[in-house]
Every structure is written in structure tokens, then in C-alpha cells.
């Protein structure tokens, strides 16, 4: 029940933002202080333990997905779809897109784990983690919901927002792509965003 309430809130925020962005040109002359901004600065750590910030990717599109490596189903499925989408783009376009996998489970996803995991989907994939505070800050910038969910055998899963965020070469939010979108459709959406 709590999950569905969160889902509804996230849905409203995301859809409301998309609506607001589409309306923005019409409302350009009015002030829009309430517009929700998705995405923003982050300071995380890559697989080599090197500090990485959002500005390191300026000039390229970021395709951002939040998840965790102990997730056996939806995360590898979505990352596979991302890899499939990038493979459908011509090489010059593919080079303009950086696929980022940001953990919502920094306790288990230490740099080497998230880095190796992300690269299993392609050499261009960047896995990012950080301190719990740094990850929480990135989640907040992207309006990502993540929470621990105990499983029967003493392990835990993470409930998490599962959408792809597309950020432009200037770092600004362009839109979201639902998880479960087929690779060909993800590629078409990326091209529609200007890749």
C-alpha cells in the first residue's frame, strides 16, 4: 500500500513535470517558480574509486538509471535494454551518450562491484556509488525513491524508482523513458531528444 502511494506520488511528479515542460513554451511569459526540476549536480565515485561529477559528462547526453547490483531481474533487464538501444544507434550517435548506472544500495555496491557490474553491459557503461549521503543527494536531485525491503531469507531488496532519465549535453533534464521500453524504442526516443 505504501509502495503504491509512493508510486502514485512519483508518477504525479514525473508526469506533472513532463506536462509542465510541454506547457512551458505557452507559459513562458509567466513565472514558473513551481516547476519541478529533475536531475542536477551529483558527486559520486566510479568503479576505479575516482570522484565523478555530473559536469564531467557535459557535451554528451546522459542516460541515467538508478538500481542496485543485487537486483536479479529488473536492473539487468533494463541495463540490457539500454545496451541494446545504444547498439542500434550509429557509432557517432552512440558516442554521444553516456549510460550511467547509479546505485541505490551503496552499502553493498562498493566501487569495484558497481563498476564491474555496469561494464558487463558494455565498455561505455559507468557505474557510480558513493557515501550514503552522496547517493541520497543524487537520488534527491533525480526525485528517486528507494527503500529497503526485507526478503524472507534475511536478505533484502530495494524498492526503487525504475525509469531512464535523459539529460542533455548541457546537463539539463530532457525527459524520462519508462523501464520495459524495447531497445529500438529507447533508441528512437534518444534520437527524438536530439542524439
Amino acid at each position: 500500500m505504501r509502495t503504491s502511494v509512493f508510486a502514485a506520488i512519483v508518477g504525479v511528479v514525473v508526469l506533472g513535470t513532463i506536462g509542465a515542460i510541454e506547457l512551458a513554451p505557452k507559459l513562458a511569459k509567466q513565472s514558473l517558480p513551481a516547476l519541478v526540476e529533475i536531475g542536477g549536480p551529483f558527486k559520486l565515485v566510479d568503479g576505479a574509486g575516482k570522484t565523478v561529477t555530473d559536469s564531467d559528462f557535459r557535451g554528451r547526453y546522459m542516460l541515467v538509471y538508478f538500481g542496485y547490483t543485487h537486483c536479479p531481474d529488473v536492473c539487468p533487464t533494463t541495463l540490457s535494454d539500454m545496451a541494446g538501444a545504444l547498439d542500434k544507434l550509429p557509432a557517432t550517435e552512440k558516442g554521444q551518450v553516456v549510460p550511467l548506472f547509479i546505485t541505490v544500495d551503496p552499502a553493498r555496491d562498493i566501487p569495484s562491484v558497481i563498476g564491474d557490474y555496469a561494464r558487463a553491459f558494455g565498455p561505455e557503461f559507468v557505474g557510480l556509488t558513493g557515501s550514503p549521503e552522496a547517493v541520497a543527494a543524487a537520488e534527491q536531485e533525480y526525485h528517486v525513491y528507494a527503500a529497503k525491503h526485507p526478503l524472507a531469507h534475511g536478505d533484502y531488496a530495494m524498492d526503487h524508482s525504475s525509469v531512464l532519465y535523459v539529460m542533455g549535453p548541457d546537463g539539463k533534464f530532457l525527459g524520462v523513458i519508462a523501464d520495459g521500453t524495447k531497445p529500438g524504442d529507447i533508441a528512437a526516443r534518444l534520437e527524438a531528444f536530439g542524439v
Partner: protein, 147 residues
């Protein structure tokens, strides 16, 4: 016993073929498992189950893994969560798909990393069909299903 009676009623007395059907009345098709990802002891397996007479999957074991759990991923409104399922009902004659982003067998504590091209041995426990062994091909980590 009750199940045998049901099979005989459905099959209308077809002798040897029915005996074979009674021995393995749940068909498992399109099965595959995702190759282990780096540092991961867990992976997922997928398949389509079909029982002519209706059955219930009550558990799964594997010689290749410490534990196999039946899980359901729910994706709704941009949120994803994963929950345990106690059992899975197979309605008579209706195929039930375990597929990426939905129900899956979570294969936990694999005894060695599963590489693409290997086979994963599973034993599925059904209320009526008993134990059914499945030899599941392991596909690349980036696979989306059997071709």
C-alpha cells in the same frame, strides 16, 4: 490419486499417452537463466509453465545454487519492487510466463558463477506433478530471452 482420476477423465482413456502425461503433466518451455554478473551470487531464471489439469508450483531446488526463490517484480508508475511468492498457481490449460520484469526464479548463492553456454539444473516441485527436473540454458547477461 485424485489427480490420476482427473487425468483419466480429461484424457478419455488414451492409455500409454496418458500414462506419460500423468508422469510429466507440467510442460516447461522457453527456459533460460541469466549468466552471473560480476560479484553477484544471485541471478534469475525464466520459463513458461503449462499444466493441462491445473497445478501449483510450491518450490524449486537446484544442485547449482544454495536456494531458489519465487519472486515477483512489480513495476508500476515508474516504481519497481520485488516480493517473495509462497507458491504459484497454474490454472488448467493456461500458460503462466515467468519473464523479465515480472515473475522469476531468483537463483541465490550459486555454487560457481554461471557462464553463458552452461546449463543450470533445477528441480521444480508441484503439488500434483511432483518433482520435475529442468535443464536450463544459461544465456549472456545481456540476453532478453531465448532466440
Amino acid at each position: 490419486m485424485r489427480y490420476l482420476v482427473a487425468v483419466l477423465l480429461l484424457g478419455g482413456g488414451c492409455g500409454v499417452a496418458c500414462a506419460a502425461a500423468a508422469a510429466a503433466p507440467v510442460s516447461i518451455t522457453g527456459a533460460w537463466a541469466r549468466a552471473s554478473l560480476p560479484h553477484q551470487e544471485n541471478t534469475a531464471a525464466y520459463m513458461t509453465l503449462l499444466s493441462a489439469g491445473g497445478d501449483t508450483l510450491t518450490g524449486v531446488d537446484s544442485a547449482d545454487a544454495g536456494m531458489v526463490m519465487l519472486h515477483q517484480t512489480t513495476s508500476k508508475g515508474g516504481m519497481s519492487d520485488m516480493s517473495d511468492m509462497e507458491s504459484l498457481a497454474l490454472p488448467a490449460g493456461k500458460a503462466v510466463a515467468l519473464a523479465p520484469g515480472g515473475m522469476h526464479l531468483m537463483v541465490m548463492d550459486v555454487k560457481h558463477p554461471l557462464a553463458a553456454g552452461e546449463k543450470l539444473q533445477l528441480v521444480l516441485h508441484f503439488t500434483h506433478a511432483g518433482d520435475v527436473t529442468a535443464t536450463v540454458p544459461v544465456l549472456a547477461a545481456t540476453a532478453t530471452g531465448p532466440r
